[in-house]
Symmetry: C2
Subunit: 195 residues, 2 copies
């Protein structure tokens, strides 16, 4: 009797195989053929779940965003906006092996979307989610309205800082440990709220 | 009589052909064959200047760093450290078409070096040059010694902000105009020196 496969679980496993190929060999190596081999499936079986490389990549990229959003939802209510800011931002940065994998996959997609228009909507969606998250954090910390231009300025600064730290942690982990990232974020939030 | 070709000029032209291929098709397309075609040369002629793809890519990447360093040297003495900081940082960010090209090439290399160990030393050199530049700016602005831990903290923040803005400008130029980048940098420097 064939093993009953949960299709949701199988798609998740395939996306993780995409991540492994991207991190080891680069995103352009994440073909249907290579991912099927990585996952130990035939190409026919893989095509049962994803009928093109574009759909496979889009699913694997979207999983980065979904995982981050799920962890942030799971944080639950946090009455202290400063504490909430630190917890949310820590979910976006490579503080452990899982987030390190997400971060490396995201960097590969960011670069690849420059020359692959099919990937751009999802990359831009990720940008928008992070921009909105930074705006909310700044609004809560400053007790300001969304229309306040200071909120927009500080949100863009925070967003750039987070993305810069993420790139640095991916490329120079020796100089950008989780503790160092947390300390730099904490310092930035200190200065933001001390004003 | 064959045209006399300045070899320095020819290597520069070839590096620019590499840049065009990277920006249009992605870094993994910058093979000796594709770059020769882009430059209108035979593969044999290209191999006269670069005998491997690795050397061609390394030269093209290094040209990003050299151009930035040359422009910063050309700024000449700037007695006001704040003015100097703004001018130096503007050379690192995509404020015009030339710097936009450099920035996109750099993003492609950053991602590619994650899976190509041959490219890493040059990418890390670029990181170190920028880190040192940020440290010098912060030292001059704060009038502090290099050993002051506050210099290191603020230099890392500035470095992350600059790299985050560079990624945002490459990926979302509509939301990150040169004027907006300059305003965010100016605001960051204001806050840094107001302390």
């Amino acid at each position: 009797m064939p093993r009953v496969v949960d299709p949701v679980e199988r798609r998740r496993e395939l996306a993780e195989a995409v991540w492994r190929v991207i991190r080891r060999d680069g995103l352009e190596q994440a073909s249907v053929r290579n991912v099927a081999r990585e996952a130990g499936l035939s190409m026919g079986s893989l095509r049962h779940y994803f009928d093109s490389q574009g759909k496979l990549l889009a699913f694997a990229l979207n999983m980065v965003i979904e995982r981050i959003e799920r962890r942030i939802s799971a944080l639950g209510p946090q009455p202290d906006p400063r504490r909430r800011a630190e917890l949310v931002l820590a979910e976006l940065l490579p503080m452990d092996a899982e987030r390190q994998a997400e971060n490396e996959v995201w960097l590969a997609f960011t670069a690849r979307a420059q020359v692959d228009p099919e990937l751009r909507p999802l990359r831009d969606h990720g940008y928008d989610v992070l921009a909105a998250g930074c705006r909310q954090i700044v609004q809560d910390l400053l007790g300001a309205g969304a229309a306040d231009p200071e909120v927009e300025t500080q949100a863009e600064r925070l967003h750039a800082l987070v993305d810069g730290l993420a790139v640095h942690a991916a490329t120079r982990p020796d100089r950008n440990s989780p503790e160092r990232l947390a300390a730099l974020i904490a310092r930035h939030l200190d200065d933001l709220t001390a004003r």
